[in-house]
Point group: D3
Chain length 243, copies 6
């Protein structure tokens, strides 16, 4: 999927703890944004080297293929390594530096629910903190980059358990066949993972279930870190309730 | 404030338990919608006859004046009377009938938090149930009116205590001087109430506080009954975080 | 599906507000219990006469067919009628009378989450209260029936929105092909409803998603009203975590 | 108390931050499991050296005596020392290694409620993370040990404040006089602690209160990390409600 | 226990759904207030006629005896009868009338947690609403009585399950032997109930457990309906934390 | 504002992550306590060197001026530096050492809500843990200082978002003109910050809104870490409800 020509949309910056997290958790949303012309960039914080399946090299290759299928670019960020991530100020500052460099409007990060892979919520918390640090003018490590205020931070949930129960989600309609196709291909690009577990079926079932509830084909839930600000009710979309 | 010419927006239908609830709870939002050309209609379910100040007649007059200042029309609905409201299926069906008649896109009702005036949350619950009943084709009392599915139900909070802690709000920017003026005038139109208590100051302070947090002059929080559905992230507004 | 010979299991008593609620919400569990030899009895509190599709007569017929497919018996209870249910002490006492007559070990009722069909949660609250009243020896309306203490009350969720966020569910593995077949047939027996909406797909997708998470084919979540009491850890099953 | 002959039950592995935490928090459950023939092993992560009473040596001796009274074996794990525990990936990996070595079906850890001794919830979080890491085949530090998936992780609460409000507990009936005697003796074995505070009375009162509520003599609450999976309702025990 | 001479304290008004609810739920607090010279008045809303044990006459007698032991006066209020209570505006208005007559500073009512006896939480909600209605000058049924604003509404929990998880309690130290004696006698005065169940032991164990946690002998938790307002930190008591 | 002569009140110890946090979050409370004669001491854990405005030197000077205006003394504590704070056992122990030295009755710390400046909640958690460690007699780093048990730990919220939704606050009436004047001056003393943002207006609006709700001029909410213990209901202040 190639990004369209809408160069006015500020870039989207998505963070994943492992090479497949973004694709499984919110790949359909990325596909939709790319299609709408928004530039999408992925920061992947390990090579999945602690996983049972796939070598680091394979997984990096899969990540590049998958991102391309979604119309996104990829960058690997060295933090503590797969299953070794810790919450450190230095990590948050590094991530804040990336935010200053990319100047995103939207940032996506794994949700903060702790009963999931230990790297997921830690990365989410690091990104949340980083989104604040990116605005602080006096941070000495980042003096060379101009402070940047993002438009919104949304969390994605890699698995249903990771959906935060205390945030009202927004649902993104991803029913377009083109989006669903790109998403499915991108998930399947992580062949080292999908051979072992029914991840693709799990994600498609989740999106279908959300879609059925919302009266569309498929939808993906994102969880805003802060209340959404609108100028009028016309902008607030419509409510999910269909059943 | 006169409604503008945007006749394509589906009407807004707002419910209040007492003649001043809508104005104090979300009058600024109404003013903004009217200004944007959306038709607004108020259903007021008592004449405030149990209140300490103001006669029912005075209060009805004040309600008409205030609604006009916000560009809205007004209708009184007889349920059980001020401070006597009960949750009855017959009430919900009556309200569903109004929804079928007005065919609103947006419905506003008082929040469901129970630690406030006993009529407020009961009316909120009746409206929530009614928004479902309005869609049920076999409801015998309403056979003559076509089923209607609203776009979204938002709750407003008449006081800060009434803000539901378990729903992520959306914030509506009401910073336009014209909106703030109409809103303030509409609140002051309820002179029987404002002489006794600092209601107007309370509401303006709330909106100013929300505005300061969101980086605008004034904002009002509304609480969606169901997750919002969008076609893309561009539609999701921006996050509140400013401080 | 015919009940097996295990006559020692105390009966299961399931309550539904409409003719198809039990089947859609927890029909697979019923099928499994029948198969294990437990007697199952359904109390249906309306004929779905307010719904858009299906006549009361059709719906009663569908309910009987569906229950038979699940190995359960059916009884209609006249309360206030579809979409007219109110929470009244008299209703709870009537239901308590049924509990005393049937002497169930397990009671199933719709969940208490209010943002669903207004009859669902009201019936759930009535059943919850009735489960207490069934034990009170002095209740004059029920003097002729011996008090009965049920073993446990579980809530089922007709739709995903109805899943209570504040109760840790138990998951019932319903992966047996025989159970899935009976359940699917029972849902499809409500042909007046399934022709209009993708209800069957919704429920199968929910059960598949729960199953994928739990490492089995399909599972259904039930929500206990009170903590479960066990004699040892061996009885506590296993944890869901699979992904 | 000597473990019985039921060698088929997978072992139980319990983690404590201090030498007396397991005994006070869930010693009665351990006694019951030992009696049922399950092997129990304790990992104690400090010698209580920051406490006001008791030397490290005394406390280690008390821990051995108490564990023996409960039919369990004991092992000390050096992490950061009493009142110095930090959440580090290296700790979680060490704990995951122990899980791989012991291959438990059930794991017990202190609850995650943060308003208690700082070591308690940190250890709980480390164990929760470790239970995942134990399954990841590529974790280089643990390459020599085969991945292991536990059956369930339960949290125990050393004090009432530590009971997690957002998890529905399961209650384990510990009313057997033999269990209560072993438990009481095991708590009293921590003489350096019980001389200073009414810990034993506190725990017995808690268990008695839970028991009274559940209609038995004494019961202990455990808090499952994940929903419990059952094959049928017969396995779900009974509800607590007695008063 | 005779009320002391401190006539300056505004009266305490306590509501119970059944003749023994106040004594079991917060009798120790009443005893303490009486002893401090505060007048206490009980409104009992049934004669326990649906209970398994005790005739209405016996239970009324027991209630009078128990109240006297606590230094309180008693009044029976006819609402819908035991196990028949419904939430009706007329009930709330009646209760508001009593509040206007008694002019209490403190009001006590059963907690709002719904998973307890159906009369308990309904009465709690009626009292909460009534505490507002008591202030509304225009309420026609109460025109003859002057509006009254209470100082605070506290909820008590008849059983541990009834403790509201979302309100931070205040703990009242009831360790004085005189208070504990009066309370125990008052509970035992409900002989028709205590012969059947270990209610007295349950309550004393609860109070002892709270006391142990707070570093005193016995304490009772009350749950404020609204935040407490103080003039300085010196007035805020001390924190509970002792273990 | 000079502390009054009431030397019997145990000191108040307030922690701030940045030079202006205490003043903005709860300066009015400090002013009131000083005026009542309580000694107040501030521990400031950075010089705000990561902020966009103000040099570390300016900010330290501002902090000294502001504290003096509130009648408090100031001390800087070197931890990890502004925007670099991490949760380390060594930090908590350092803070525990300060608690042992100052022997406060009341401790104030920033709230634990994580969606605010990353240093705020981390400091709050460190102080919470430290308040426990201060009591542990065997902690080797603090052997020279006598263990100290504080009376209560309250959290303050620097911004509205930081108010913890799960703790019932206490409200401190700060309506005295003298208190409001001292507070306002102290906030304005942080000129490097107030020139850039409407911080002073934000805080005064918050306090006014709380005051309006509580029927006084201005009030500040504090959030107790543990339930408050009282000897009688007379000590529990009054409820907030005014609107």
């Amino acid at each position: 999927m190639k990004p369209g020509p809408n160069s006015k949309l500020p870039p989207l910056l998505a963070f994943g703890a492992h090479p497949d997290d973004i694709e499984f958790g919110c790949g359909a949303v990325i596909a939709g944004e790319s299609r709408a012309g928004r530039q999408a960039h992925f920061i992947i914080c390990s090579r999945g080297e602690a996983g049972t399946h796939g070598t680091p090299k394979q997984r990096a290759t899969e990540a590049h293929t998958a991102a391309a299928l979604l119309g996104a670019t990829v960058e690997f960020l060295e933090l503590d390594g797969d299953s070794h991530l810790e919450i450190r100020a230095a990590h948050a500052i590094k991530i804040a530096g990336i935010i200053r460099r990319v100047c995103p409007g939207i940032v996506l990060a794994p949700s903060l629910v702790e009963n999931q892979h230990p790297d997921h919520w830690r990365l989410g918390k690091l990104v949340r903190d980083a989104a604040r640090l990116a605005r602080f003018g006096g941070l000495k490590e980042l003096r060379k980059a101009r402070p940047h205020a993002i438009g919104q931070l949304f969390y994605y949930a890699v698995t249903p358990e990771a959906e935060p129960p205390d945030i009202t989600p927004v649902l993104i309609d991803v029913s377009s066949p083109e989006i669903l196709r790109s998403w499915t291909e991108a998930m399947n690009a992580h062949a080292s993972q999908t051979q072992a577990r029914a991840y693709v079926e799990l994600q498609l079932a989740r999106a279908r279930l959300r879609g059925l509830r919302a009266g569309v084909s498929h939808a993906v839930a994102l969880f805003p870190n802060d209340p959404l600000v609108f100028n009028s009710l016309e902008q607030t979309g419509r409510g999910e309730r269909s059943f």
